[in-house]
Symmetry: C2
Subunit: 344 residues, 2 copies
Amino acid sequence: MPITPVILSGGGGTRLWPLSTPETPKQFLALTADETMFQLTVRRVMDRSMFAPPLIVANAAHAELVEAQLADIGVDDATLLLEPCARNTAPAIALAALALADAKSPMLVMPSDHVIANPAAFAAATAALLPLVEEGWLATYGITPTGPETGYGYIQFADLQRDGVHAVSRFVEKPDAPRAAEMIAGGDHVWNGGIFLFRADIYLAVLAVHAPDMLAAAQAAMAEAERFDNQIHPHAESFAACPSDSIDYAVMEKADRVAVAPVSMGWSDVGSWDSLHEIGAKDHHGNTTIGAVRLSEASGNLIHADGIRVSVHGVENLIVVANGSEVLILPRGASQKVRDFAKG
Amino acid sequence: MPITPVILSGGGGTRLWPLSTPETPKQFLALTADETMFQLTVRRVMDRSMFAPPLIVANAAHAELVEAQLADIGVDDATLLLEPCARNTAPAIALAALALADAKSPMLVMPSDHVIANPAAFAAATAALLPLVEEGWLATYGITPTGPETGYGYIQFADLQRDGVHAVSRFVEKPDAPRAAEMIAGGDHVWNGGIFLFRADIYLAVLAVHAPDMLAAAQAAMAEAERFDNQIHPHAESFAACPSDSIDYAVMEKADRVAVAPVSMGWSDVGSWDSLHEIGAKDHHGNTTIGAVRLSEASGNLIHADGIRVSVHGVENLIVVANGSEVLILPRGASQKVRDFAKG
């Protein structure tokens, strides 16, 4: 049975301001390649012998953007599930599960704003997880840590269930630095990358037990959904009544049979300008540049120029982001400060 | 007899790129105040009891800009002497001298892109120089040095001719650092600020002796000049044949009776982004900002935002200049590197 890709594109986010804005969140920007992260995510599941046409869960305000970016890469078989409001990931995935024609169909749930540099490793993990998923497990991809990051949730794994797949013992929220170091040292923790694989009926069954209000609201919203061509519009009032929660809290932490495939696949959540420097191609002086950038005696910088030329001489380890209306400058390592500027 | 201000606005220059461009050289930009340096220069000679209406010598390509900036400050009695091509200062001043109705009229020749923070001191120096000028001396304003700058020419002065005015012993080209320090230590050198006061007939008489070809070309250009309303257009071919030279080389260094008034008047030639930081108002952290700038934990920076917002966190001693199409970033002290960027 082919896997249905469910691509979550509802994110807003200000961490990549000034380029990301509520009108154009980061998944719709070409920050890491010539194509946008949304387009790269869709491309990962283009093989129709393995994947059904994708279901895109997006903010209704971004419908035209999604359609245009799909058309741009020649994808004409996607369905758009357009959220009338944002209720976090668990309800979004509930809508998607209810939209699937075949309840036993495996859903591959992916954020649309992550980078996966090694898609073969991703595919191998999917293949390893699939048999357990078909048996009714909820599965997740555990990113092999590259350091004691405090910005991610962690997953502790237990026994090997089959080659490359472990039972999950518990989910751990974003830790402080000593706790992160301890988990890394233990060797039995991976990062929670927010990518999931499970059958629609199993997900809905877990919701029925642990979040029945959420399931009821999602069912009501889908019962009265309007459908035009390839678009599904859930009923706005019903969905507005849905509790807001993440899949991690509402489902994964509470379910019984949860599996994880530890995988090293060049993953990044592109959560900051610093992470773009980490994953970006660099010149001989450690500079990552995008757009019209001129450098002289400069090293270790991330310079992103969008529709404006940036000329830099004699500076080190700066983040510089410019578009036609805003310029941001801060040292590498301080990119969390972007949020303060993004507000005003 | 009122003094005729002759304002030299023909400069191009790339030292304040990206804001200054061949289309809009720095004198036409509001870099130091709400008004442009050209407008501030015109304002310095607005008192019609002392000054005749100004004669503006400008590049013909900037005629509309000059007219608009004059109108903006309510000056409607200026004459524009529009150069068909640039031949440096000596020929430009020759055209101006020939344009004056009264040959014995004193001309106050001023670049249009300098800042004078203390106009009262400037006026006092003018008053001190005027009696010698009326007797036929060529006079210049000697800027009291604030340090051993290597970017300016120097003037060595000799005997006091009258209160506040010395005879010039010689002009010194831009020195190296040890030579500059030596001159400062001697106490008998001032900077050559490029501001002059002399009678038109005396200037032309010196030209006749030391640069007769230049005088002949300027005379030919003015003999066939076309005049419309307040504009004078010297004959293009005649002026193109004129040798190109500065007033310092062609006239001041060679003339006999040359006087200098040492004066401390808050002068700056605004020759670089660094000089704009030097003369600019600063916040408690030593930042000079113009335009829409947001700072957080930043010190010692010059940030100039023109039509675009600049948000800066956690950086020190940078020069940042942004307009809608270009962003320039370099450390303070390195602003001479601008020239390399301005070329391309």
